[in-house]
């Protein structure tokens, strides 16, 4: 290496490249590297703020901790408690039901509307705005309160149903229906996924459809054999983020039920229960165990998603 040789020897080996230039270059590279670490400094500190708490939360999950006294190791007690706790089970069921109903319906709605818009309509930008706006405000306190009001006693929804002679259920007060009400709110925010689908659909060359039509492929066949495979990375992207986001739902349940998860624990999302245990009862060891169980469930579904994606997601790069 030139660094260990004398300038004369290096000059002899590479006569067209003076040693001084090489040294200057490597010092420029070192300066660039130093600069990179300087630019990344805030990010490194931020990463520590994520990585260290990540480890600490695993430790706390094996302790009894109330923020005031130092944590006491209790072994697996918190985890056995999670699996024996009926409220934990209820909250897991609420969260999974919500996710597995709301996410597919939202995605199908988003795709259907995106396909309709992609057919070419006058005023496309207007429609897109109207459908997109709700997704920006759907998790705000104002909208959750609004939802509770329009579905609640004497609300617009039941008045509307009453107009057709249907006696609507207690959308807010009936434990069988409260979660359905929140699912409708989730579907209302399909616009963000729709925008992503629409951008994806625009990238599919129209000639594919024309060729398929010439070959006698009908609407459904074109959808299955052209749209779905070519859109699959986008569907996958929406699905992964939809699941992760939905499994972490909090505000909707909290505001809808005034923080209780009611009626009869029907809107007790897992995160809401975690909040109650950790920040209302200050049972932080148990709350950490709950967080880890949730993390493992989310990691499981995400990994499963990535694994299954090999069979149906098609990358054209």
């Amino acid at each position: 290496m030139s660094t260990s040789t004398t300038p004369a020897a290096a000059g002899a080996l590479a006569p067209d490249r003076p040693p001084t230039l090489r040294r200057r270059r490597s010092s420029a590279a070192a300066a660039e590297e130093r600069a990179a670490y300087v630019f990344l400094l805030p990010w490194f500190v931020g990463l520590l703020f994520t990585v260290i708490p990540f480890g600490v939360s695993l430790y706390l999950a094996f302790t009894d901790y109330n923020l005031l006294q130092s944590p006491q190791l209790v072994g697996l007690e918190n985890f056995t408690r999670v699996f024996e706790d009926p409220k934990a089970e209820t909250s897991a069921r609420v969260t999974l039901t919500y996710t597995f109903v709301a996410v597919p319906i939202s995605l199908v709605t988003a795709l259907a509307v995106a396909m309709l818009l992609n057919k070419g309509v006058r005023g496309l930008k207007f429609y897109r705005s109207v459908f997109y706006l709700p997704s920006l405000i759907g998790t705000s306190v104002a909208i959750v309160m609004l939802w509770r009001s329009i579905f609640g006693y004497g609300g617009v929804v039941n008045s509307f149903l009453g107009f057709f002679g249907i006696e609507g259920p207690g959308w807010v007060t009936d434990p069988d229906w409260a979660l359905v009400t929140l699912i409708t709110l989730s579907i209302w925010t399909f616009g963000a996924s729709m925008v992503i689908f629409l951008a994806g659909l625009r990238q599919i060359p129209v000639v594919y459809y024309e060729a398929a039509a010439v070959d006698g492929a009908g609407w459904w066949r074109q959808f299955r054999s052209i749209t779905v495979p070519l859109l699959s990375p986008v569907i996958f992207f929406n699905l992964v983020l939809g699941l992760i986001g939905s499994l972490q739902t909090f505000t909707q349940g909290f505001v809808f039920s005034g923080g209780t998860g009611g009626p009869a624990e029907s809107t007790l999302f897992f995160n809401l229960y975690l909040y109650q245990q950790g920040f209302q009862r200050f049972d932080m060891g148990y709350a950490s165990a709950l967080a880890w169980v949730m993390f493992i469930v989310i990691a499981f579904f995400t990994a499963l998603n990535f694994l299954v994606s090999k069979w149906w997601v098609f990358y054209d790069d």
């Binding site: 600069a35 705000s140 609300g155 992503i196 505001v255 920040f279 995400t302 790069d317």
Partner: protein, 303 residues
């Protein structure tokens, strides 16, 4: 393995966003199917807009008539709801608006500075460990925030940061939002490398290149980050709920929530009036920055 798939997925989703604004109105189908399409779209649109219009109209109705008067145009308008709602809580509503604004501005500044710095290093500079660090950055995207919640709370509590804005703003200055870093990386990567080479030949080091070459060209992506940050910060309920108990520090969502208890609300008119006030900034940002939102959303999948 997951990391490569994730990157491919993100890249694939991003490459498609270029089409977002390039719509040409290419009409297909007969006049009849085109008409039916509009009927369906208008129908869906009306159902989606109805709750918002209903809320707007309810905010002008006297509380007692909110539910009995079904029409969107109030039979009897009551502007007093806004005045009543403004002073219905412990503090006048402008206090909550200003608090929310302070948090939003600090978050915007923090995210713009720290995320663009990290993105610049990842996309334009060569250094050892670039690939593993980038993979770690992508990995944090999939990490549910609630796993680290309790230890973070413990740390902030021990630092004496509860009932201050520090837990809600300092993380923004530490590039903790991986979605924004990724969005900016994608954007900066697309800028020609020759710009940087030219700057270097002219004697411009990495710091000046960042400030004077890359930053000015990244303005559209920075606008996307700023608008998303504003909306996320303005809507955030969980963070303030966790860290703020002093009503003097309350943000708009925390204040608004006080209008409704577990049993429901009674002051419907003022509640809806203040709800409208709380949503107005987001709606305004939506109309001003729609282009940036649409570009950003395809990259990050943010809502």
């Amino acid at each position: 393995m997951t990391d490569t798939t994730l990157r491919r997925t993100l890249r694939s989703a991003t490459s498609r966003l270029r089409g977002v604004e390039a719509y040409q109105e290419e009409l297909t189908g007969t006049a009849r199917t085109r008409f039916l399409r509009h009927v369906v779209l208008v129908g869906v649109g009306l159902v989606m807009m109805y709750p918002l219009l209903w809320m707007l109209s309810a905010s002008f109705k006297p509380s007692a008539r909110v539910f009995s008067d079904a029409g969107l145009v109030p039979e009897q308008t009551d502007l007093g709801n806004y005045a009543a709602g403004w002073s219905a809580l412990e503090h006048p509503f402008q206090l909550y608006l200003v608090n929310s604004l302070i948090l939003a501005v600090l978050n915007i500044v923090g995210n713009l500075a720290s995320c663009s710095m990290a993105a610049y290093a990842f996309s334009r500079l060569r250094f050892r460990g670039r690939r593993p660090f980038f993979a770690a950055m992508l990995g944090t995207m999939l990490l549910p925030a609630h796993v680290v919640l309790i230890p973070q709370y413990v740390i902030f509590a021990k630092l004496g940061w509860v009932n201050t804005y520090l837990p809600l703003t300092v993380p923004a200055f530490l590039a903790t939002n991986a979605f924004f870093v990724f969005l900016l990386v994608q954007f900066m990567r697309a800028l020609p490398m020759e710009l940087q080479d030219a700057a270097r030949i002219d004697g411009c080091g990495p710091y000046r290149t960042y400030l004077q070459v890359i930053m000015p060209l990244t303005v559209p992506a920075m606008a996307t980050v700023a608008i998303f940050t504003f909306i996320a910060s303005w809507n955030d309920f969980f963070g303030p709920l966790l860290y703020l108990t002093d009503s003097q520090l309350f943000t708009v969502p925390l204040a608004l929530r006080q209008f409704m208890s577990a049993e429901g609300a009674s002051d419907w008119g003022p509640m809806f009036a203040m709800s409208v006030v709380s949503l107005l900034p987001v709606v305004a940002f939506f109309f001003i920055g729609q282009r940036y939102l649409l570009n950003g959303i395809a990259t990050t999948g943010m809502k």
